[in-house]
Symmetry: D2
Subunit: 452 residues, 4 copies
């Protein structure tokens, strides 16, 4: 009897650039990106990944690398991985692929990560009208804990997870994506043209050949040209899973992914040491390189059995997830509420996005009273294990959203006190890190329309 | 030394109608509704309340009472309660009122509740386009557990909480509410007139003298006429707390409410035995009569110290909450995901409401595979302790929302299985209860615009 | 359809003495104590109980009532309750009685309790050689929380439970109890006569007609005389459940009790607002009056099916328990360890009792550094929800036991600190309460033999 | 800014024998074993360790390696490690060494472990009179989960921890150990000579030069001879920590160890993938090789400040622990109770060891009804994350102990059922593994005296 070993199927050389890795990485979704590994159901296999930017962000105090990041390069994914059952028969369209996350973590020797906000002209974020500048915090890991020199007084155990895990789309599904995303980009939502207001930020991230990386497909070849023009960007989560950013997909979690192409062609990346619900600053988790140990099962015909299409085709489905039994345990939470009235005082109709924005803004202002700059708190709320809830979605006209923050991550008691003591000045260290570098010329109108 | 006793300050006679109670109830927010009780900080006091409809819903199989409910009557609240400190000085505008929920529960002898969906023509709900009919499920309580004859095979411990807790608004704040809500009702949101599409459902619930109950103010008096025309409806949560429907406000939780009028004038009601995040069916929690044991503190000047206005006036604030340490403990959750693409396949821009709707629809369809009608599951998701999360709100164009369901509440294993066994037909009992009674003539277009 | 109501089957009049209650109480175990109520399986019924002393302890600062308590009177139990199935057939010997605790709590208007240590000459306790005096702390309840004027700076949510729940023994089982307990009382353990050392404390609590209360059996009758001489004391837990003091038997827990007599004859009492594992001070929980809402099922033939005798007869069994899903949630615990070396430095062989004693003594000394007297901490460790664990029981010669204390119950941080700050003197209030009143003349030798 | 890296200070070569490792290992406690590594406070460092037997147990079906294991060789420890503060000043006697467990796990490529029971003639165990044979189960790890081919139908997440972590004793403390352990070995406990009954099992494990390994001290040298005769065995936990087998010392836990020699001389080993409270089968955890990532702080003078001696010298102290926030979360537990009446029906006096033994026996018999052999369950209870509690320790004559088992680890519902269905025969696979191989000639009297 020999112990089953965890087979390493995709590894990363941290000294190489993303496009130099072997097997090669990819940063688009397309059915014709060839698989780079094959695994069987039941075996535990190891996949390594670079951080989502492929090493573009440095471990230093300057956010200039964030400000100038070329977003057409992200996210660098490991895969695709072809899945076979024990008889060697591949997963087939219509099957459900159950992927269990047996273990995961940072790459040894690379135990650090970053949280950042993008410049309003380059990426932006949930609160970009309030915080238009690029900022950056570095996090160091000590086992399960993270701490940051830029945000002193905070330490917490990570609920580590991959931000992206998904299967390859079929050509039919890819066409659906491209059509609907192009539609919103060109036409906006309803008769209200969001793009008029938001001209510096795209409504959708459409296919682009720029910086396109397609694994084994040789750059510049005719095949590459064709695929690069069609392949979907990795920014949004979609029917295939993808960038779902569900912070609880940690050790022991299970993802049930629909299979759209033969072999399933599983890809994953964008590892997060920790993330708050919403990942509000966009580059919002603690982004890092890392590894996953996975185990797959194929549920034959499972899509039809378990997933009901919510749209015009059988492809309009979403994955299902099971949360694992090992998560950091917090006993006390401070909860901030938001309603769907925006910062100008304007009423919105059951809009959970506006309500959540209010909750996040309330939390930022509150916590900043304890010695932090608002930029620091915005970064914090992106990456600590805070919970963003939709509390009420029916009591017209106000949606109610809440943001719950585990109080134990701070080295001081942040709850309201009856006897208000003047809060001692906590030195906001390295203030230049958080100095605004935004040089755009858009008025910071906080136009409420921009948020929904 | 005599033990401090819990003083009962407001009690309910279950044999009487809401308008016959003594002290009288109220169902509107207004600064001039006189307080009916006075309590001191530090003392534990007991408040009883009728269910939100004041007994209009019967413990039987017929949803006709739900279908014909007069929504202008809700919610019946107990209070206002004037809060004094131990020197007899009342809470003052600008203070923060900390209300601790020491204990709570159903009223003895009235251990049952109901969950319902309204008719599309009368109230509707989050999924009213999918489920336009009035339906009703009755729940019986056995201590901490609830079960329903209409939805067999489900049993769970309640996370009991008041749906409504709030302070009286000042006249200035009331004017803000009325203006902004009238604005949306008359003008819709942005240039897109929602009301054109949604003509049977109001965008806001504006003041109405119909069924208005104002406590000690005599009905029909000139004072009553004036107040009734101005007083805000209790449907939405607002700056004063109100109908926030935060399901974790249970034993040991603490609410920090802004004070807008002298004495704070605390009111509460709409007790829920249990509720799911979002309370999706509108009458969605397990609605019941009940009692609260509360204790108050006044944090003098706390609004300025702890709440930052997010709007044009110092009144644009939201309460803060602390969650208590006693909640049902579930180890396994099945999670459904939704993205901001609606059921017609149309792309929306980072719209958490659309994403959550998709997650809820996905969950309904999935669970209905285990022997339930979709109407049963819709009711279930309103009232079980499920968690609705905003997972990603930045990855344009898709917001990602999730709905997590504790699997232990079912008497069968609802997780996906590798070897699909044909699910035995669970008798959907009392199907007539869930027979559609909708007789409106609106086309069920599932117009995506109607949801955001 | 009428809602099922919780039927009150046994109620308490707090103004009456234990022996004046109607239906009458009992304080012994015997098969011939007649049942005072009958319930059916499936129905939820309410049972009220006096505190274990029947009101002998007063809500004041003086421990004199504890010092002089007549221990022959305890515990006052409510019952016996005869259990019938829905066909009217009683539970029978060999069945298993599943008792679900649907709800429980203090009696309304009597929301207080006490924790005490007995005088070494009258009751003693786990650490009576260290703390020979009677002491007392009063606890007041504010909903789920308890606090004590005698032990300031501590507040915690109760994990409320009945200390005693059990079925009536058969005559055969009763004879086994009386024989084995008389044997240890007369002969000690092994060749080592514990009684020589411990002459002031009995090794067992044998039947005694003194203060014997037998429910409907008239005191002084010949039947009373016979039963009183045979009936087992309620002090120890035994095969029938009884005084098992399992602190997690709270809301939602289920007890599977063996049935020894027709009808099961269920009795319960000794309600605890909260208790630490071990209940080390003997009168160690927060003792109170209270109520239980219970629901029973009969598992016919369940003893044979589920309980395996561990002894010479089929009666040598123990109940099984299920813990409910609602318990206070603590995230941080400070853990004290003890090994089986006693305070004189003497080595014991894998003795978990000695090891646990050391762990408790370590915890008392440690916490007393934070401004408490050791007597206060001893009382605390009896009643806070601390966890007493057997960590290692095989590594000869040392058993290792641990005591884990939730740090959140204190209003100060009790963890060890790198930079030791002089701990400010917390005023130990009401020191006279904890002044030693012991006037025995035994040398306080801390004889290690006395502990095992 | 360069990211701080985790420095590897002690590594293991899995292809080498324990005595061939470099730096060398040790298997005794003694102040004169030289340190093999030096670390500074604040740095995160990595320590690797062999399994406690140093690879003597094979990954196969035969328990013969367990039966013949030379127990004089265990436990192989990594260290000692000398601890300096950031000024280079070593930890000193009287200090407290705070060791935080930042991370831990199996050694990559060696993801398996074993649980075993020893032969009664060679090691025995808590229930050796009931289970006198050597048995063995192999466990394979898939990330956080373990499963065993010998015990099918069970799978659980590990609460991984080091069984042994401790500082070197001073000569004075070592002398105390040797004296008291020799005393019990020679004289038994009290006037009752346990050794008369237990002649095949030692009461203590006294120093022995056999198989003694002392790190850098050359075997056979005069120094080696001297130390080997004095050095304490590693079997029991003692004042220096050592083999405390506290199953919750996992990621994020902190151990406060007393310092007895300059530099503290920290050693660790005996990694457990998972263990049940009590580690009842002796070789009872899932034993494995592994790694720890640790971080130390020195609390100068902390022994006096935080540890109170419970014995005749200032050295009679015990470590303190903090439990980390990341543990597997189980919502349902089945609890077995034991009282201090032994299997012969004999009464013991408040003996928690006897009570726990009964609880364990009850659990073994109960679970064996679900298709397992008792030997399989005995192994299970040693290694699953079950909780062993001291529930009542004062209600003379019965101590009450409980054993709580998380039901979710089984692939079937093991709770008692009203409608007893005949339990399908689960094939007890590989029965020869669990075939008794005991060939001693001791009568299996289950002599109760043997247990306490």
């Amino acid at each position: 009897m020999a112990p089953p070993t965890t087979r390493s199927v995709l590894s990363i050389d941290l000294k190489k650039k993303p496009w130099e890795q072997n097997p090669p990485l990819h940063n688009r979704w397309h059915p014709d990106i060839p698989h780079v590994a094959v695994v069987n159901t039941g075996e535990v296999f190891r996949v390594e990944m670079v951080d989502w930017t492929g090493g573009a962000i440095r471990d230093d105090d300057s956010p200039l690398d964030v400000k100038s990041l070329d977003l057409s390069t992200v996210h660098y994914l490991s895969g695709p991985i072809r899945i076979l059952d024990n008889d060697g028969i591949p997963a087939k369209p219509g099957d459900l692929l159950a992927v269990e996350i047996c273990n995961l973590g940072p790459l040894p020797g690379d135990e650090w990560g970053f949280t950042a906000t993008f410049d309003r002209e380059n990426g932006g974020g949930f609160l970009t009208d309030h915080f238009p500048c690029a900022t950056k915090a570095i996090w160091y890991f000590q086992g399960i804990y993270a701490h940051s020199p830029q945000i002193p007084g905070v330490r917490f155990p990570g609920l580590t997870h991959p931000g992206i895990i998904g299967t390859a789309p079929s050509m039919e599904l890819l066409n659906i994506w491209n059509k609907r995303e192009r539609d919103i980009q060109e036409n906006g939502v309803g008769s209200f043209k969001l793009c008029e207001v938001l001209h510096t930020r795209p409504l959708a991230n459409l296919p682009s050949t720029k910086s396109c990386l397609l694994g084994k497909i040789e750059k510049g070849s005719s095949e590459w040209e064709k695929i690069a023009k069609e392949a979907a960007r990795t920014i949004p989560g979609r029917e295939n899973g993808g960038n779902c950013d569900i912070k609880n997909l940690s050790r022991g979690a299970k993802v049930y992914l629909p299979v759209f192409v033969e072999g399933a062609n599983l890809s994953t990346g964008d590892m997060h040491f920790s993330q708050g619900d919403g990942e509000v600053s966009f580059c919002g988790a603690i982004e890092m390189s890392g590894f996953l140990e996975l185990k797959c099962e194929i549920i034959r015909g499972g899509m039809k059995e378990y997933l009901t299409p919510m749209g015009p085709t059988p492809l309009h489905v979403n994955p299902i997830f099971e949360i694992g039994p090992v998560e950091p345990r917090f006993s006390e939470w401070l909860v901030f509420e938001g309603i769907s009235v925006d910062e100008s005082g304007r009423q919105h109709y059951l809009d959970a996005t506006v309500a959540y924005k209010r909750a996040v803004l309330n939390a930022i202002d509150y916590i900043s009273k304890f010695g932090y700059s608002k930029e620091q708190v915005y970064l914090l709320l992106s990456c600590i294990p805070c919970e963003g809830r939709i509390s009420g979605i029916v009591d017209a006209p106000n949606a109610v959203a809440t943001l719950a923050i585990p109080t134990a991550i701070f080295d001081q008691d942040i709850r309201p006190k009856k006897n208000i003591v003047p809060i001692g000045p906590r030195l906001v260290r390295k203030p230049d890190v958080f100095k605004c570098t935004y040089d755009g010329n858009l008025p910071l109108t906080r136009n409420p329309s921009a948020t929904s």
